[in-house]
């Protein structure tokens, strides 16, 4: 046990509740021990709207995950998303005290505090403050200023914040199961841990996680997060559009989308598709594609425009990585590269052992990413001796019995 840690990632998505149990070995490799998932209900646009229903789904997913992994799950890392999540970049500056030459850890804390001190709406709370770069006396892009000699220390932070109460609702829902939430992570931050490797992050990459209810994105340039966010439109919208335009039930619309639909208007095979169970009702392939294309184009434009203005689209050396369930939609890659003007990469899962076939599926990028996030978090924590770890464990056990 001392050499490995078990983490659980939980994503309450619009289409599914998914728990992934992973073991992080001492060599850094992740082994997936088990997965529990359940189609979700009571979630709209990435946020919990019906706590009770969600808890039922969560229970189900939890028991499956415990069964398969043979691990008793107490704490989870929770992925959060929703249209309320916003991000911004801010720079903090401090002057290092004159009598002190080298930059100390306290200085880093101080500069972080200052960088984080941006006016965000009162009802919002910080989700992440991710360091982008340090500047020491104007020297650009210092990765680790600790111990460097300098007088002026600046730090660029990418700050992700969201409405406190809406995040708390998600946490509350999970706690009532009961599961303890160890940390919350903005979904694309987690997904990026799996989908984007170090090379991609350094050369510049945009991750688009097109899920059921939301589309999350995160953009890396020079190894640092420069933009992230969430648009509350996803695959569900496409299904809904099809259902509304063709006036058919949602379930049939979903099926139509998955089996026949394409977001691309190119190479349309002209012909009629019979809609199952609708007494010979047919729909033209062209019309179906037009409906899907209109939505996909709009969604991608909403995301691409701010990024274009920010000037990051030119810096994406590695292009765009698509993930999330809706990225399996036909033609979406083509539309994406057209709109962003950047090539789209085939995403491949990071090295992992276990029933990995399952995890090459982009649907699992976020929960698996949570485990990697937990692993990174663990690495950042100060290393402790085996004895103190043991003591801590005892403390936990004793504390838990209170």
């Amino acid at each position: 046990m001392a050499s490995s840690n078990i983490y659980v990632g939980l994503e309450i998505g619009t289409s599914k509740v998914c728990l992934v149990v992973g073991e992080v070995r001492s060599d850094g490799a992740i082994k997936i021990l088990g997965v529990g998932q359940h189609p979700s209900a009571g979630v709209r646009k990435g946020e919990v709207v019906d706590s009770e229903t969600v808890q039922t789904c969560l229970h189900d997913a939890l028991s499956r995950a415990e069964e398969r992994s043979d691990v008793e799950i107490n704490t989870v890392f929770l992925a959060v998303t929703g249209s309320h999540v916003e991000s911004l970049n801010n720079r903090g500056t401090i002057r290092v005290a004159d009598d002190q030459m080298e930059i100390s850890p306290e200085d880093l804390e101080e500069v972080k505090k200052i960088a984080r001190d941006v006016p965000i709406p009162k009802e919002n709370g910080y989700i992440h403050s991710i360091i982008q770069h340090y500047f020491v006396d104007g020297q650009e892009k210092v990765l680790n200023p600790l111990g460097m000699i300098g007088q002026k220390l600046e730090a660029d932070y990418h700050i992700i914040h969201g409405t406190k109460t809406r995040i708390q609702n998600a946490i509350k829902c999970v706690r009532e199961v009961p599961l303890e939430v160890e940390d919350i992570v903005f979904s694309p931050v987690a997904a990026a841990q799996v989908v984007l490797n170090r090379e991609a992050k350094n050369e510049g990459a945009l991750l688009l996680d097109i899920g059921g209810g939301t589309t999350d994105f995160i953009c890396f340039v020079d190894g640092a997060v420069v933009a992230s966010g969430c648009v509350a439109i996803g695959g569900d919208h496409i299904t809904n559009d099809i259902a509304l335009v063709l006036k058919i039930p949602l379930s049939r619309a979903e099926k139509l989308k998955v089996t026949h639909g394409s977001a691309s208007l190119k190479n349309i095979s002209h012909g009629e598709i019979a809609i199952e169970g609708e007494n010979g009702k047919t729909v033209e392939q062209e019309l179906l594609n037009q409906i899907m294309n209109a939505r996909a184009t709009e969604l991608l434009t909403v995301i691409s425009e701010p990024l274009r203005k920010q000037g990051v689209l030119d810096k994406l050396g590695k292009g765009i990585f698509l993930t999330g369930g809706s990225s399996l939609m036909k033609g979406i890659g083509e539309v994406t590269s057209d709109i962003f003007g950047v090539p789209v990469q085939e995403s491949d899962a990071a090295s992992m052992s276990g029933p990995s076939a399952l995890f090459e599926n982009p649907q699992y990028a976020t929960p698996v990413g949570l485990i990697r996030y937990a692993q990174l978090l663990d690495e950042q924590r100060p290393k402790k001796g085996a004895l103190s770890k043991l003591g801590q464990r005892f403390e936990k056990i004793l504390g838990g019995k209170k």
Binding site: R44, D117, V231, A232, D241, L250
Partner: protein
């Protein structure tokens, strides 16, 4: 982070020859001065004027002048304004001496008593003669103080109005509402004094603090605009991470603003944001965005910002605005005063200078051309329609006038306000004609004035836009109060007001209205104006249907299919509801 560079800007430039003097007249005025002194007034010299030597002795003001030392021998006036006036005349030289050389004089006075009502007009006259900029903060008496004091106060107010560049009235009755009823009397009055002293201070700060975007006297005048206005004033000061929003919130919470609700009615709002050196543009933006949420679409926002080192890490937000106050009705209620007020206010409008007088003249300049009878219904109907359309604003307007109604009713019959039915049948005929001319003529001047008009109407209802503009103008006319416009338009405005009431009553929108009101308003029209009335009644009859149609058109959010997202938070980007299928939206 963008930061203002304070060093580039000089420190507060307060020319010594442009000193500010705050004069408190009478007991109430002295109390306000004491409050200001207590809070440490930095710029202004305080001068207390009183007849009662004991009260004067207790005052902490730096300068004091005893009024009527020989006439009253150090006693009070016993509530007689005539005595107050005589007392002031006795000390005229020392007052003149004190006022001379000041750039700006604020007079604060509690009207209704002897010294306040008697001496304050004299002080104002002297100040005017000395050519200073004069702003008067007058407190109207509680209604329980009796009709006599109220009359004295109103008479004094109308006289003060002749001399002052700006008059801001605080209604004690309203102050009473603002303060927790169970508060002690001392606390209650202290709170009232505090509100007044804060507004004086804010006014001074706004004008004298150095501004990156400077607010001048003209902006201030535009914001308080009228002489009989109820002053809306809010001030917030906050430190810490979220100081900008906290400061705005505090400012909006100020009792005079009624949590920002009253700002909706204001025509112009002055916003001043000050902070220390570290105030960021982003913070200013936050403030302005928050303020914008609270004001109407057409409200003119006068914005100023500046840095002030004394604020340190704090950020202050000052909101100043006005809506037509009790003075609008009040000024001409006494029959004698009504006659006097028209010529008087004309002369006073002239020297006022600055924005308000320009606006007033705009209203006045509509030439009273003879009108064709046929013109009347159309604009009227259009007007009432748009009245209905602009629901929010108008409801408040209507309630406003209704609220005022009881106050008016307490006035004895002889002093009935000009729009009460029985008292003015003779005048009414003229007035009716005036209405016609005003209403029908207004279309053209307005149409011409559209470009110049600050109230550029962005109303979404294209067909009724002309009428819409007409209403803006009418509203504006109502706002400055009849006291400032010549007699003809004055009475016509009254009628406009009553029509608004009856019009909205007919549609059944305002249920709180008692049938009695309808009765009293209805008869105003029919007997005096038989030819026009049937048409109007017809219009009124039609209105409910048309209003409904209009309202449906106004629903900006079309009822569109949203399917499973019908009950979720809408996802709105650039004003488009993205939950509606793109395909359906783009097809259009």
């Amino acid at each position: 982070m963008i930061e203002y560079d304070e060093s580039a800007r000089g420190e507060l430039q307060l020319d010594s020859d442009l000193g500010v003097k705050v004069i408190g007249v009478g007991g109430a005025g002295a109390n306000v001065l004491d409050r200001m002194a207590l809070e440490g007034s930095d710029v202004a010299e305080l001068l207390a004027l009183n007849t009662d030597v004991r009260a004067l002795k207790n005052s902490v003001s730096s300068e004091k002048i005893q009024l009527g030392s020989t006439l009253l021998k150090g006693m009070g006036t016993g509530g007689d304004p005539e005595l107050g006036k005589q007392a002031a005349l006795e000390a005229v030289d020392s007052i003149r001496e004190a006022v001379r050389g000041a750039g700006m004089v604020f007079v604060c006075v509690g009207l209704g008593g002897g010294t306040g009502s008697g001496a304050a007009p004299e002080v104002c006259r002297i100040a005017k003669e000395e050519g200073v900029f004069l702003a008067v903060f007058a407190t109207m008496p509680f209604s329980f103080e009796g009709q006599r004091r109220m009359d004295q106060a109103k008479l004094a107010l109308s006289t003060i109005g002749q001399y002052a560049n700006a008059v801001i009235t605080f209604d004690n009755d309203r102050m009473g509402e603002l303060i927790v009823p169970k508060d002690g009397v001392t606390q209650a009055f202290a709170a009232a004094d505090k509100i007044i002293s804060q507004s004086i201070r804010a006014t001074m700060n706004v004008v004298f603090r150095p501004g990156i975007i400077h607010i001048g006297m003209d902006d201030l005048l535009a914001a308080i605009r009228t002489k009989d206005s109820r002053c809306l004033f809010g001030y917030g000061l906050s430190k810490g991470d979220n100081r900008s929003l906290e400061a705005v919130e505090q400012a909006l919470k100020c009792p005079l603003l009624d949590r920002g609700k009253l700002l909706n009615e204001a025509q112009a709002v002055l916003v001043q944001v000050s902070g220390g050196d570290n105030m960021t543009l982003y913070e200013v933006q936050l403030v302005m965005e928050e303020v914008r949420k609270h004001v109407g679409e057409n409200t003119q926002i006068l914005f100023g910002t500046g840095t002030d080192k004394r604020l340190g890490s704090a950020l202050s937000v000052t909101l100043i605005s006005s809506i037509p106050g009790p003075g609008v009705e009040g000024a001409e209620i006494p029959a004698s005063a009504a006659a006097a007020s028209a010529p008087v206010s004309l002369s006073s409008a002239a020297p006022a200078g600055g924005a308000p007088s320009i606006r007033l003249s705009q209203a006045e300049s509509a030439p009273p051309l003879p009108s064709a009878e046929a013109d009347v219904p159309a604009p009227l109907r259009g007007r009432e329609l748009s009245q209905q359309a602009e629901e929010g604003e108008d409801e408040t307007l209507v309630f406003e006038s209704l609220d005022d109604a009881p106050e008016v009713e307490t006035v004895p019959e002889e002093e009935v306000p000009s729009y009460a039915p029985d008292s003015i049948p003779p005048a009414l005929e003229d007035a009716e004609e005036a209405t016609e001319t005003v209403v029908s003529d207004e279309r053209n001047p307005i149409a011409r004035a559209i470009e110049d008009s600050q109230v550029a109407d962005t109303g979404s209802i294209a067909p009724i836009q002309p009428a819409d503009l007409g209403i803006e103008q009418l509203d504006e006319d109502e706002a400055p109060g009849a006291g400032h416009v010549e007699a003809l338009t004055e009475s016509s405005q009254k009628i406009t007001l009553t029509r608004v009431v009856s019009g909205s009553g007919n549609t059944g929108r305002i249920k709180t209205r008692s049938p009695g009101d309808g009765g009293s308003n209805g008869p105003v029209m029919p007997p005096t104006k038989p030819p026009a009335m049937p048409a109007e009644e017809l219009d009124d009859g039609e209105i409910p249907d048309e209003v409904k149609q209009q309202q449906e058109l106004l629903q900006l959010e079309p009822v569109k299919a949203k399917g499973r997202f019908a009950k979720t938070d809408p996802t709105i980007v650039d004003g488009e509801d993205l939950d509606v299928p793109t395909f359906l939206r783009k097809k259009k």
